[in-house]
Symmetry: C2
Subunit: 462 residues, 2 copies
């Protein structure tokens, strides 16, 4: 993509336009940022700032929940800053270790299956139209037997989707506006943003950098990245990601037993995001359903994105066990199914053919190799920062390295690294106030880029 | 798919489970139905009906908005009845003219492009990960130049999606719960159902077969399938589908001028569903933006599903012009972009490669041929019912034939046709109370099936 294309795309996105006056049109300012609280950016345009002043306006009021959202969604915002940096340094060889985007080719056994399915669609026998909204039966079966064998998850508990991020929003639609949620702090921003959009939260509180009516469960080195559950007030829904994005921490069996016990005691529902489970090296659980009793309190969402390089192909799944019941005894799965049938029409049949190939013996082997490659990248990054004297977390069970810059603003560090090394990372505070002082370095990249980025880090921080 | 598979899928869906006690487990009842108000089915299971009585329940309350929904989403419900019919008549050659699912192979020029993209994903140069959430620039450009040339719609007004149905829900998320909507009655059920889910409506009112706080704009032969806009109280959002699903009526230029004028006068936003625009034979507008002033009041959503047989491939788009403003002057497009970035991650890159091929000169030609084929089917169905003395609507500008059975329950007619001819249609009342007395016959089918279905119709109604 050329720079110009990048920019046009950027300009068309709300996040970028929001920020245009403060940092996009001004070459002087560019990627340098106010010192504090910048993950947040007070940049939702107010009506007066709009260019169109005398234009016709409808009489429809803007959705007040969306108006609560701060700045743009994190990753488009980072893409925008990357583009701005390229404008400033057109010849820079920018390396992106920011948004966690896979870079390695999809194994041929998988792409061949997708190509074959595509070709079949132009034959009478091979053509298929609408599939089941819940996904094709063979794929649901393969997911059940690959990831949930002996865990008593049934095929019809599994809903195939176009990705975990999309399912998170659909789950929020299921829960509606009258639930109170808890999230790990820091955490993947889609949990909080989708909660705000659904109207579950109060306004954003600038002083604490949190939305009202969300329990932010601090996860930091001091507590081993597992929250003090006794310190939170009862949430209806607990979003919990393990291995965690961004910290890279994988919860232990003991921790997950504690989590499930908390949910049982408090009647909460866990939404367990296991999108990085295949990166686990140790014996940490790969599914929440390894914990006894989890089926009665937990939903699990996962994805092919980081296993098979399907970030662009789009395929994931969500498990909603039929044993999970609302307080009136109504199964959550029935409402999720209703949302899936009303708001979604199934994943692309070509992507599903790819998913099925992923779960063949050859596909699994090939995925393991790609994951192994990224894990080697992770080791290189961990070694680099450790050799420079940084405290580094994550990495072992996840493709993310969580580097501590004690006492510094993570947006400042992000800008420093970008400005001085042309490497894009992700500022920890973009994942919540608990991420302040950290930067997430993604291990998704070609080997030569990882090595080059690490050389530059060594130059900068030697 | 085998019958057993069909059933398993069915059983796993909430709609079917909802209905299980009344019509699924009982062979006697099967597809026969209570005489009236059956599009509605009083079959949302109450807690007492749940099988799991003594099981653990969470303390999370069920979303009251979802609880308002009546029965299952229409099309899974029809699929369920089809499966039940197959159980009763295992040897029947069932012909499906129900859910409007495309049946003809996708032209080779399009599938080749998708296969090529799939293969490219296993090369270093051809691999791509996350794309822009709004879609790839070349596809957005091609949509703009193909469908909106000279209509002053810009590339960044176009958001590529995984289908119009999915975008309808995303649009409802944008609007939130405090808007009042209007729909054509009858209409595609996703408009109303997504409104209920978002909490825009009151409870379902059994006596009138409508949800509270929705304006149902009756469209019938008497008003030429265009609503009397002077009879409705001001809605914030007007869902308007033309060519219409299910009636097949395409609004005239004069009617659309009236609609846009109404929106301007009342400050309403039109969501214009043009998913069947390429089926228009006459000079009816193919886009709402052909009407002067529409950009300030209208969103348009459309799809490759019925043009290229992409019902399973999943690709559509939505146009949100930057000129469309909320009452406070904030652009709707910025909030839609935010939802797209938070709740979606772009359409599959393979599907997008297919979309780009659709809009090449060869692709457009090939799509026109497929559409032409379905339009011939439509003529055969129209001729059949007219020869039997029925009043028939639609068909000319849409792949749907809207057959009038005056004074009869459309679910009764649906069951009669299924029972006696093994042909699946769609009961008009499934699209709203205004559809009562009609049945929708879809023209999507292999030619021999259309001909065979018409032979059976002639036998039944001779």
């Amino acid at each position: 993509m050329s720079i110009t294309q990048n920019l046009t795309t950027s300009i068309s996105s709300s996040s970028s336009s929001f920020l245009a006056p403060s940092s996009f049109n001004s070459r002087r300012q560019n990627v340098s940022l106010p010192a504090k609280r910048v993950g947040v950016c007070k940049c939702v345009a107010t009506p007066q700032e709009q260019e169109v002043q005398t234009a016709y306006k409808t009489k429809v009021s803007r959705n007040a929940n969306i108006a609560k959202l701060q700045a743009g969604y994190l990753f488009p915002e980072i893409a925008r800053r990357r583009s701005a940096h390229l404008l400033k340094y057109p010849d820079a060889k920018v390396i992106s270790l920011g948004i966690g985007d896979t870079t390695e080719p999809i194994p041929e056994v998988i792409t061949s299956a997708m190509a074959k399915k595509a070709h079949a669609l132009s034959t009478i026998e091979g053509y298929s139209g609408y599939g089941a909204e819940q996904g094709e039966k063979p794929l649901r079966s393969a997911i059940a037997s690959t990831f949930y064998s002996h865990l008593d998850i049934e095929v019809d508990d599994i809903f195939v989707s176009d990705g975990a991020k999309c399912d998170i929003s659909r789950l929020q639609m299921v829960f509606g506006s009258n639930v109170k949620m808890a999230v790990q702090d820091p955490s993947y921003p889609a949990y909080v943003d989708s909660s705000v959009i659904m109207g579950q939260t109060g306004p954003y509180q600038k002083d604490v950098e949190k939305y009202g009516n969300i329990e932010y469960m601090r996860c930091n080195p001091e507590n081993g990245f597992f929250p003090d559950l006794s310190a939170i007030s009862r949430p209806d829904v607990i979003f919990f990601c393990s291995p965690n994005n961004p910290t890279g921490a994988a919860a232990t069996r003991e921790q997950l037993i504690q989590l499930v016990q908390y949910a049982q005691d408090n009647g909460s529902i866990i939404v367990y995001d296991s999108a990085y489970a295949m990166y686990i090296s140790g014996d940490n659980p790969r599914s929440i359903y390894e914990i006894p009793g989890a089926k009665e309190v937990a939903i699990e969402t996962s994805s092919f994105s980081k296993y098979a390089g399907f970030t662009g192909v789009r395929l994931g799944w969500t498990v909603v066990p039929k044993q999970l019941l609302y307080s009136d005894g109504f199964p959550v799965a029935k409402d999720f199914n209703r949302i899936v049938c009303t708001s979604f029409n199934g994943s692309s049949n070509i992507s599903q053919a790819g998913g099925l190939a992923c779960l063949s013996p050859e596909g699994l082997q090939a995925m393991q190799e790609v994951i192994g490659f990224y894990k080697e990248n992770t080791n290189i990054i961990v070694d680099t920062f450790e050799s420079l004297g940084f405290k580094v977390y994550g990495g072992k069970n996840a493709p993310y390295v969580w580097v501590h810059f004690p006492g510094r603003s993570s947006w400042d560090v992000f800008s420093e690294i970008l400005e001085k090394t042309h490497v894009v990372t992700t500022p920890g505070s973009g994942f919540g106030p608990g991420g302040e002082g950290f930067v997430r370095v993604s291990a998704f990249g070609h080997r030569e880029n990882i090595l080059e980025a690490c050389r530059r880090f060594k130059q900068l921080y030697k």
